[in-house]
């Protein structure tokens, strides 16, 4: 793409020289017009590359992992459980993700960050002491929602 754009831009630049002015910092920093002889002018990008988003990539990865495991299982059955433990598990991007925590979660005050022995039954906000409770009582519903969202609790709209 840049090779063809490159020539077009040059033409514009030569037009602009009639009014001589110092190039701005941004223009000095720009490398759009630097020559790129090392690029293959005939390269055509495979079009599907652009449309993929993160979610699609991760789904594909998960799918691949599942297929691989299935293949391995079949192989194992065919060969009669002889060669196991020989080859290490091949990990994928999704399979090395850390599991959810199994440790008991400590409760911290949503407002102050200090330890929170209490939870407000109305808003479900955790709080440190009664002075913070007074503050919580004066919070608007949207502020409560923001505080909860910071802890990853997204209230369900009934």
């Amino acid at each position: 793409m840049p090779p063809k754009g490159f020539q077009r831009k040059k033409a514009i630049a030569s037009d602009g020289t009639s009014t001589p002015q110092l190039p701005s910092l941004a223009e000095q920093l720009s490398y759009l017009e630097n020559p790129r002889p090392f690029k293959n002018p005939n390269y055509a990008r495979k079009t599907f590359r652009r449309s993929k988003n993160l979610k699609a990539v991760l789904t594909q990865e998960r799918e691949r992992e599942r297929a691989e495991r299935e293949r391995r299982r079949l192989e194992k059955m065919e060969s009669g459980m002889e060669v196991d433990g020989e080859e290490e598990d091949i990990q994928t991007y999704t399979s090395i993700e850390a599991p959810p925590s199994l440790l008991p979660q400590k409760h911290y005050c949503d407002i102050t960050g200090l330890e929170a022995p209490y939870t407000d039954p109305a808003t479900k906000l955790r709080y440190h002491d009664k002075s913070i409770y007074e503050l919580i009582k004066g919070l608007s519903a949207s502020a409560v929602k923001d505080y909860l969202a910071a802890r990853g609790v997204n209230s369900i709209v009934k």
């Binding site: 223009e27 490398y31 630097n34 091949i90 991007y93 913070i132």
Partner: protein, 714 residues
């Protein structure tokens, strides 16, 4: 406590260093080393001492002034807001996804290395994410082989190469790699990464900085300037640290004094308002000018009034003359005259005259009132005359006079009433004054008691209101019961009610109060009354009781914040612009870093570093475990945050047998060591065997790699 740090303002981006000469590498096939990190791109030939580097971000945009398309890389993106908005990175969080941006970034790298041949004729070694998604690898391979026509490409994992740079090639160790958008744990035995046991935590510096930003936004909801994510990153790296034991740290911060001691203030840029100081003479002059203007206006108005009056008088005279002249004209002439003056007939003329007369009378009266204050008492002579003595007009006049008299008398009564009230008030004031002078202590006690009672009443009302908003509270239930019994008409059968009339509701005025009670929306008039009385009492106390200060008033008591809250987030006066642009960081300083050890705090359902390390170690035998923990190796930018090493020590010690020695070390240069390790490795003989050649790429596609100790296996 006064530890104010100024938020640095970003410096304009510097011009990149001049490109290196390509001469020594031309057709020398020097390996090309690229560390494609999600924050920084580092690149250079393997023989260089250190890499060139820049933020891995590109912006393609049109400059507004010249309408010229520009392409910027790295820091250069910050040069203009427009560029910042258009900026894109090859990475989306932790995953390499955007091949356009990658192409632009690689172009920049190769231009910076002055490559001027037809192809990039160098074997390339490039980093990729631990267990990278194959999609990312294939798009990279496609670019490198097809667009740049590289002869061979080897992929490696950056943290393993950083380990290689800092340790002997066959060392053991546990690598903790702190990346921008993730944190990985990789065990290494005999210099070989055991990727099957590696784990990745989806939490990195970017998430921590975001979390800090969120906390700041919650704490300072009305901050005058926008806090950017770059600023929150700066705060994370400069003011935040790991606590060796988070729980005991929080306990130690329980007192306001302790909190004050750890408080760090970040001063954001502000512009002080320049207030013009006016001298008394100037103020006097301004006041004088204003008075002068007022006087002039008054004079003008008075002049206008007299002019109008004169005009009206002459008009009246003219019309009166006209009417008098009626007799001399013929009927025809008279009608014609009337019409030229704009009247339909005689009655129109009469009306106009009457109106003018009354206007004049009023104006004269007003003038007279302005001259002498009290007008004499009007007389109503006809009121006492019996009706029989009057004709029709007289009766009419009498009626009018009666009404006027009644109004006059009512006004007089009201005036008298007012005077009496004032007298009474004065008397009361005097009495109170006497009381106060006689026994100040007693008076103060009494007044304070009254204030107390009023405040309790106001508080109770507030409590009741709060209780009513909760459907299940006793107050709300009682209200519902009241409504139900009012609505239900079964107190008496209908027939009985018709005849008997035993429903006595309303006989007592207090019965109606129930409707007030059930109407929660209606503002209570008692409330206003209480408030005004409270204000009066407080005013008196403020004036006469020396121990009663403005802090004791209801308003300041109600808005008083607890010491804890005011220590966490001190407030500044409205006029203190400098103070309003300050952010106080205290518990946040540790809270933000703690998320690496428990991401659940910020809502990410994942085990933290401690738990993951424990899980990873559990898959090794005791012997291997010992070898691993003897060399815990930290790399990546966030590993430089203060307190990480003690914290890790405190986390690992309890989960390992006491005889196992723990040794934690940090990369010598967290940012460039991976690149240096790659460069060093690229100069060994082994390098030739780990890359994928162009022929292999054509055969197997971009996803296939060779398995080797420093690279991914998938």
């Amino acid at each position: 406590m006064e530890a104010v740090t100024r938020m640095p303002s970003p410096a304009p981006p510097a011009l990149p260093p001049p490109p290196n000469s390509y001469d020594e590498h031309r057709s020398a096939r020097t390996p090309l080393v690229i560390d494609n990190g999600s924050t920084n791109l580092r690149y250079g030939f393997a023989t260089s001492e250190s890499p060139r580097s820049g933020l891995n971000i590109v912006a393609k945009y049109k400059e507004r002034r010249t309408n010229k398309p520009l392409l910027l890389f790295g820091d250069g993106v910050d040069v203009e807001g427009g560029a910042r908005i258009q900026a894109r990175t090859p990475w989306e969080g932790d995953v390499l996804l955007n091949s356009d941006a990658l192409e632009n970034a690689l172009d920049y790298a190769f231009i910076g290395l002055s490559i001027d041949t037809d192809t990039v004729d160098h074997p390339i070694i490039m980093t990729e994410r631990l267990c990278t998604p194959l999609h990312s690898r294939s798009l990279t391979s496609e670019l490198l082989f097809e667009l740049y026509a590289a002869p061979s490409v080897a992929y490696c994992v950056d943290s393993v190469m950083s380990f290689y740079q800092n340790n002997s090639p066959s060392a053991d160790g546990l690598v903790l790699s702190f990346n921008t958008a993730s944190t990985s744990v990789i065990p290494i035995l005999d210099g070989k990464g055991i990727l099957s046991h590696a784990k990745r935590i989806p939490w990195g510096a970017a998430q921590s900085a975001d979390y800090l930003l969120k906390l700041i936004q919650l704490k300072y909801t009305n901050f005058p300037t926008r806090v950017t994510s770059a600023q929150s990153q700066w705060m994370l790296h400069n003011l935040c640290e790991f606590a060796p034991d988070y729980t005991s740290l929080l306990r130690s911060l329980n007192s306001p004094d302790a909190l004050r001691a750890v408080d760090r203030i970040v001063q954001f840029p502000f512009s002080a308002q320049v207030q013009e100081e006016k001298t008394p003479e100037e103020l006097e002059r301004i006041a004088e000018r204003r008075r002068e203007q007022g006087r002039k206006l008054q004079e003008m108005a008075a002049k206008m009034r007299t002019e109008k009056l004169l005009q009206k008088e002459t008009d009246l005279q003219y019309l009166l003359n006209l009417r008098e002249g009626k007799a001399e004209d013929t009927k025809r002439e008279w009608t014609y005259k009337l019409q030229t003056e704009g009247f339909d007939d005689d009655s129109g003329l009469d009306d106009a005259i009457k109106k003018l007369e009354s206007d004049l009378k009023k104006a004269r009266k007003k003038e007279a009132a302005a001259d002498g204050e009290d007008a004499e008492e009007p007389s109503f002579p006809l009121v006492d005359v019996p009706d029989a003595d009057l004709d029709e007009d007289g009766l009419k006049e009498k009626k009018k006079q009666k009404l006027l008299k009644a109004g006059f008398e009512a006004r007089a009564r009201a005036r008298k009433e007012k005077e009496r009230e004032k007298e009474e008030r004065d008397k009361e004031d005097r009495k109170e004054e006497e009381e106060r002078q006689g026994d100040l202590g007693g008076w103060v006690r009494k007044m304070r008691n009254e204030q107390e009672v009023l405040m309790t009443r106001i508080k109770d009302r507030g409590r009741r209101k709060a209780a009513l908003s909760d459907r299940k509270s006793a107050a709300a239930q009682a209200r519902m019961k009241n409504i139900a019994s009012l609505a239900a008409d079964d107190r008496l059968p209908k027939k009985k009610r018709k005849g008997g009339g035993e429903d006595t509701f309303g006989a007592n005025d207090a019965d109606w109060a129930i409707y007030r009670k059930i109407n929660t929306a209606a503002p209570s008039s008692d409330e206003e009354e209480d408030m005004s009385q409270l204000a009066m009492i407080e005013q008196k106390l403020l004036a006469h009781d020396p121990s009663f200060t403005p802090q004791h008033t209801h308003a300041s008591l109600a808005s008083k914040r607890s010491e804890l809250i005011s220590t966490l987030r001190p407030t500044y006066d409205e006029t203190n612009v400098e103070g309003l642009c300050r952010i106080h960081l205290n518990t946040e300083r540790w809270r933000v870093c703690e998320t690496w050890f428990s991401p659940a705090m910020a809502g990410v359902d994942s085990a933290g570093i401690g738990e993951v390390v424990q899980n990873v170690l559990a898959r090794f035998s005791d012997g291997e475990k010992e070898r691993l923990v003897k060399n815990v190796f930290l790399t990546g930018g966030p590993s430089q945050l203060t307190g990480l090493v003690p914290r890790l020590h405190a986390t690992l010690r309890p989960i390992l047998p006491p005889e196992m020695g723990i040794n934690i070390s940090q990369a010598a240069d967290v940012s460039a060591d991976a690149w240096r390790g790659m460069a060093r490795f690229a100069q060994t003989e082994e390098f030739e065997n780990v890359g994928v050649t162009r022929a292999e790429y054509d055969e197997h596609g971009g996803e296939r790699v060779r398995r080797w100790w420093g690279g991914n296996w998938n």
